[in-house]
């Protein structure tokens, strides 16, 4: 997961496809439309069409297929629980149960894989309470630093025998290691607070303002939204 997260974040900032150039607000709208359609269409063909559109978006964004599969395949395990619980002897229900979350997570991965996080969080921060919006930025900002530290901690635990022995000992050792990161997080928050004060922080973390700046690339977003709406309406109950 660490590698997937890091690569998605890098691709979001370094990509140069029309999807990367399109406005974050437009992409957010398209993603919400696709997800709402995917979780609500009753027809299997409509759902398959939406899933195909989601794959088209992901592949034309030049996101590596293996990365997209790894990131968007997470819901399968949970969906299988529902497939088992609701097995009715047909293929339709299990397919719907698996395709719906897969389509939605694929769209989410396309969105974060083509939109740098300040642009993505900026429109969200306009509608969320101030403390939550600031927390969203600060959490994501702290994440990659802590991911690196967690990786190093895990390597150190393995090398020093912290991953051998009875589970209780292993887990307690992992907990003590995470305790060092809690402490680091607290000290980091003190440093960050001091830096924010020194820079004359106004009391609100704001993303950059070009999340809503439309460009020619937004025509592709509009086209994709039209295609998704047309596919869903045409095939609403088919299959």
């Amino acid at each position: 997961m660490i590698e997937v997260l890091t690569r998605i974040d890098l691709l979001a900032s370094s990509g140069a496809t029309p999807w990367h150039r399109a406005s974050a607000l437009g992409k957010l709208g398209l993603a919400l439309l696709l997800i709402l359609l995917a979780v609500s269409v009753p027809g299997l063909r409509a759902l398959a069409a939406l899933y195909a559109i989601a794959w088209l978006l992901a592949l034309t964004s030049r996101l590596p297929a293996r990365l997209v599969l790894a990131a968007s395949g997470y819901p399968i395990a949970f969906s299988l629980l529902f497939v088992v619980g609701r097995w009715d002897g047909t293929w339709r229900t299990p397919l719907m149960l698996v395709l719906r979350p897969l389509a939605a997570s694929l769209v989410a991965v396309w969105l974060v894989g083509t939109t740098p996080y300040p642009d993505l969080f900026a429109p969200l921060s306009r509608v969320l309470p101030r403390g939550v919006a600031d927390g969203l930025f600060l959490t994501y900002r702290a994440l990659f630093e802590l991911l690196e530290r967690v990786e190093r901690l895990w390597s150190a635990l393995r090398l020093r025998g912290g991953t051998s022995g009875p589970p209780r000992r292993r887990l307690t050792a992992a907990g003590e290691g995470l305790g060092t990161l809690v402490l680091y997080g607290f000290e980091r928050s003190q440093r960050l607070y001091a830096v924010m004060q020194l820079r004359g922080h106004s009391g609100r973390v704001c993303g950059c303002r070009h999340y809503a700046e439309a460009s020619a690339a937004d025509a592709w977003v509009a086209l994709a939204a039209l295609a998704a709406a047309a596919a869903a309406l045409t095939l609403w109950r088919a299959g």
Partner: protein, 241 residues
């Protein structure tokens, strides 16, 4: 094992009220919780730590367990700030395809309910046992509550009729009266028990370390808080008490 429910397996009549309730609670929690930028930064750091810890794969026999750390988050941040942190963690995970955007409210409610109980439990127990044991017990309570809510939600969803009388596909559930709820519970229950034990052991380690090097980061027991304040009301959340 994560408790995050993905998009598309729950009907709108479950996730929409869940999202609305979570947003109302979020607005309240954000007002009550982190007062001050340092508290927001600490909340962000602990939320990021929970996300980073979820990336760890802890081998437990044939299973690979992913931590959630809702107990430690709840004890260290307090109910309101922990709910905000849990909501943010779920929103970021949903954007990465883990969990769902439509069910971000329900996921936050399920995990946030457990996290919200952690600090009161810790405070009640800290005077009677060691801080590490109280921390681990609070984590057990948090995990058990979240696990029970998750199972109740899944059970309810499985029992919903396959096609609701309200509009088109929007109200459609996948459940049926004959759904194998027992089988699902039988699969989920052992995993939940493993999760509770793993999280409690990790929480014990976190508290043991903090107790040695920075005991001030752990909340004070309920009796000490009442004595110190003379009943002046609860401590501000989002920072150590």
């Amino acid at each position: 094992m994560h408790l995050h429910i993905p998009d598309g397996v729950l009907p709108v009549r479950l996730w929409l009220p869940g999202l609305a309730l979570a947003l109302v609670l979020l607005a309240w929690a954000a007002r009550y919780a982190a007062r001050g930028r340092q508290a927001v930064a600490y909340q962000g750091a602990l939320g990021a730590l929970a996300l980073a810890a979820m990336a760890l794969e802890i081998p437990l026999g044939p299973l690979e367990y992913h931590l959630t750390l809702i107990g430690p988050l709840g004890v260290l941040l307090g109910p309101a700030a922990a709910f905000v942190a849990v909501f943010i963690v779920n929103a970021i995970l949903a954007l990465l395809g883990h969990g769902g955007l439509t069910v971000v409210g329900l996921n936050a409610l399920v995990l946030g309910a457990g996290a919200a109980l952690a600090r009161p439990t810790y405070r009640a127990l800290a005077g009677r046992m060691t801080p590490a044991a109280a921390f681990a017990t609070a984590t057990v309570v948090a995990q058990a509550v979240s696990g029970a809510l998750w199972l109740a939600l899944v059970t309810y969803a499985l029992r919903l009729p396959a096609r609701a009388p309200d509009a088109g596909g929007f109200g459609a559930g996948f459940g049926a009266p004959g759904a194998r709820v027992g089988l699902v519970a039988g699969l989920a229950f052992p995993m939940a028990l493993v999760g509770i034990a793993a999280e409690a052991a990790v929480a014990y380690g976190i508290a043991r370390f903090l107790g040695r090097v920075r005991p001030d980061l752990l909340p004070a027991p309920a009796a000490a808080v009442a004595g110190a304040r003379g009943g002046a009301g609860p401590a501000p959340e989002g920072r150590p008490a």
